[in-house]
């Protein structure tokens, strides 16, 4: 195909003119863009990228290496969408632009194929991810990395392979779906009928968090249905240009959950929650699924959102540990100091919390897929502040992307680290001992940051903190 015809073909899939036209180049989004902050160049800003996409889409400018590079430099964190008063759908533009550049000579065919393979065959397939995770687990435990490094397979992703290795969190030795029953019942009466999506990363890399989530939900009086035939939510594929495959997964999930009776579909992974809430929109033109998707999406709740809205009752140990004032106790210590117990609902009002000794200094990092994609920011804070004994310090620039951004920290490690460094400095300044965040990607990235920048802080999902505080 001649270059020109090829471009024309590509241009067809860029967003339609009305979407492109929406940006009035006012610049209100510049201040929130992590990549603009680094270069101070207009081309690394949302406004600049939109202008370039617009020009390419209208055939006024040819695609180029600079164009491709700026599109890939973007974190797709969507902070600009939150900041944009005009309602510009930046996410759609950048994601389509990336599909287009993946087909040009500016991105190597090989890496595109690998990306597709990894996302379709490994992440999307539970067994695939399990095999890889199991492999990573062995890899971490045995020092197999030397062998891998010699083969150079992973070099296509990035030159800093040795750094990236530490990005993969310590894999749980058991996956959560094997430990969670299809139907879990609370000890007392059933107050809420819920369903649970266990997420692919959460299931394999962070299985403990899933178990914690189930435990806490049970304490709240939830009946939890976890359909065994559910699949990956499709978010990573959707955001990386493979929407067709993502929608296949969406339909499978809708079918899997449709069979059950529940009021809330709980997700503890910001990325999955955001994407599942979007099914309604993504499938609105599918006559068979439009209605079902709407029903499905309307029930999806992030776990913190669920707590903040339903205010379930929980029984906490009100004094966590009498000995240690900074570190969380281990389970042994918890048991020995459980005589002071209090029943409260989440989120409780401050007065009651104020009666407790403040011995847990925590802060909170907003996952992009919670704050920007789902507009959830006050709810987790409300819940966290209400936990007995918690001394909450707000994190400066809490909503600034940590650099994890899907697979960005793997494919653009150096750029991701610049954002991570900024995040770790802010975390350090809070003097908090625990940083909470509601997304597996952010957890992995920030954990990596604690090692790389030597910051003494524990990285937890909020549900894990709640679980630790529950009466045993």
């Amino acid at each position: 195909m001649s270059k020109e015809i090829q471009y024309k073909e590509l241009l067809k899939i860029l967003p339609d003119d009305d979407i492109l036209q929406q940006c009035i180049h006012c610049g209100m989004c510049l201040a929130t863009c992590p990549t603009y902050e680094i270069t101070k160049l207009e081309r690394s800003s949302p406004r600049g990228r939109i202008k370039m996409i617009k020009s390419v889409a209208r055939g006024e400018m040819e695609m180029s290496r600079i164009f491709a590079d700026e599109m890939n430099f973007c974190l797709d964190c969507q902070a600009c969408e939150t900041a944009c008063p005009a309602g510009v759908q930046y996410g759609r533009m950048i994601e389509t632009a990336r599909v287009v550049i993946d087909q040009t000579e500016y991105v190597s065919k090989f890496s595109v194929e690998i990306k597709k393979f990894v996302l379709r065959k490994i992440v999307a397939s539970r067994n695939g991810l399990k095999i890889v995770s199991r492999f990573l687990w062995i890899y971490q435990k045995t020092g197999l990395q030397k062998l891998i490094r010699a083969t150079g397979i992973l070099k296509i992703f990035s030159k800093n392979l040795s750094e990236i290795e530490t990005l993969s969190p310590l894999i749980a030795d058991k996956f959560s779906d094997t430990q969670i029953n299809e139907i879990e019942l609370p000890t007392g009466e059933v107050k809420y009928k819920t369903a649970f999506h266990f997420g692919c990363l959460m299931n394999t890399m962070f299985a403990d968090i899933n178990i914690d989530t189930i435990d806490v939900l049970k304490e709240c009086g939830c009946k939890i249905i976890t359909p065994k035939d559910q699949v990956c939510c499709g978010s990573l594929m959707g955001h990386n240009g493979d929407m067709e495959f993502a929608l296949k997964l969406a339909r499978k999930n809708i079918d899997a959950f449709e069979k059950h009776d529940y009021d809330f579909l709980i997700s503890n992974s910001a990325g999955c929650g955001a994407f599942m809430k979007d099914y309604a929109h993504l499938l609105e033109d599918d006559p068979d699924y439009a209605e079902k998707a709407k029903r499905f999406s309307s029930k999806v709740k992030d776990v913190m959102e669920f707590f903040a809205e339903q205010k379930p009752e929980l029984t906490f140990q009100s004094v966590i540990s009498k000995e240690s004032s900074t570190r969380l106790p281990d389970r042994q210590a918890e048991k020995s100091s459980s005589n002071d117990i209090q029943q409260i609902s989440l989120p409780i009002n401050r007065d009651r919390n104020d009666n407790h000794k403040k011995n847990q200094n925590v802060t909170y990092h907003d996952a992009c897929h919670l704050i920007h994609a789902q507009k959830i920011s006050t709810q987790p804070r409300e819940v966290i502040k209400s936990l007995p004994g918690v001394e909450y310090t707000e994190l400066e620039e809490a909503s600034w992307c940590c650099g994890s951004a899907g697979i960005y920290n793997v494919v653009r490690y150096d750029d991701a680290v610049k954002q991570l460094e900024r995040k770790m400095n802010n975390i350090k300044n809070t003097k908090a001992k625990i940083v909470l965040t509601g997304n597996p990607g952010c957890m992995g990235q920030i954990k990596h940051g604690t090692q790389k920048f030597n910051v003494d802080v524990e990285v937890l999902h909020p549900v894990t903190l709640i679980k630790r505080m529950l009466k045993k």
């Binding site: 009035i24 610049g27 160049l41 370039m52 400018m61 180029s64 008063p85 005009a86 309602g87």
Partner: protein, 479 residues
Amino acid sequence: MDQYTAEKLKSMVGAKNYFDSKEDKLVYSYDGTPIYQQLPEAVLFPQDEEQISQILKLANLEKFNVVPRGSGTGLSGGSIPVDNSVVVVMTRWNKIIEIDEDNLTAWVQPGVITRALQKEVEKLGLFYPPDPGSLNVCTIGGNVANNAGGLRGLKYGVTKNYVLGVEMILPNGDLLKTGGKNMKDVAGYNLRDFIVGSEGTIGIVTKILLKLIPKPTKSITLLIYFDKLTDAGKTVSDIIASHIVPSMMEFLDNTTINCVEDYTNIGLPRNSEAILLIEVDGRGGEVQEDAELIRKIAVKNNASALKGAANEEEAFVLKTARRSAFSALARKMPTTILEDATVPRSELPVMIEKVSKAAKMFDVIIGNFGHAGDGNLHPTCLTDERDSKAIERAHLAFDFIFNEAIKLGGTISGEHGTGLAKKEFLEKVAGPVGVDMMKKIKKAIDENNILNPGKIFTISPKCEGILPAKREQIKDFHV
């Protein structure tokens, strides 16, 4: 611009601070102003005063034009490139050089973001009041060049009230230093005040000395709903006439309320014809008294509801919502042409009505909002630049609005500057003698007319008829 000049510029600022790819030219072809755009020949990020001076000297020699630029949020086209020009971007000059707590002053570089400076001084209990809607993004340099106003202009004034001194490189490459920490200074012409608002046409500002004030300790923020537009206007005039000076008195009409509510979801009254966002501040009991008096005036003028912000956070949310007004209006239509008509405050109710009338007469959608306390309105035409008929009607509506404003003793631009977008109206306001004097001053300072030429005024035949809808229609900007 020829290859030789390009190479010279590149060696002056260094290859990594010189950009001339088509992508870079493209993304510096616009600022916040609708419709106008033009490609520069190159984009430069000079590192120090000496480099700026060299660039300007070379421009005189090689006859190319230089356009200074901050964050590019301007709404009158001040930093849009002109023919055969290079853009000089100042955003990397972003150091706060000194905060002098004894003299209540701050030395800053021009690329400091307005909000960043405010945050720093507020940590010390000090206050830098000018707060344009774009404060999170715009630069102090851009504020000085445009004499930017803001929400707090009513009580605290605009940028010019806070500029004590300026250092700038003149078009011939000389460094001018004027003003200083003295609160009073009458030696010679007041160059400093002339520089503020000069829109980057007489020099490139490199350092600014700003006045700070103690931070007010108390404030009350009120949101008042009206079922009738004119009642809101009347309330504003009555408050001014009763000698209360709120720190802020902002007006939003129904179209604006709905767009802002679509963006923020904070529960603004979608059915009200207008709302006023009013803040009173100070240090003692007078704050409460003023708020009470305002309440009475609002009730007398048929306000349908009155709410107070419960805490600082809530007040902040309301102000942020107001700041988003201009951009939020773009939700309705893809092109928003915003104007800046300002009238004496007693005439505000009349002006608000004239704007509604213009919308009906010329069949255009106009969202109206603005700094009501200053008599400064931003009627914003919601249109589509791809539809030339609609653009023409917008132009006629604005012609009507400007003429009415001038009849009421008003002006064409309260705060956004004249730039490209409003220069054809300048003579109506400043008069032929005034414009002539401005041109002579410009000629004396910028002999070869290389610095941001064609902005504010022009000597070549002015653009008659409709606003240009395409780049090709835009005339050369040579004076």
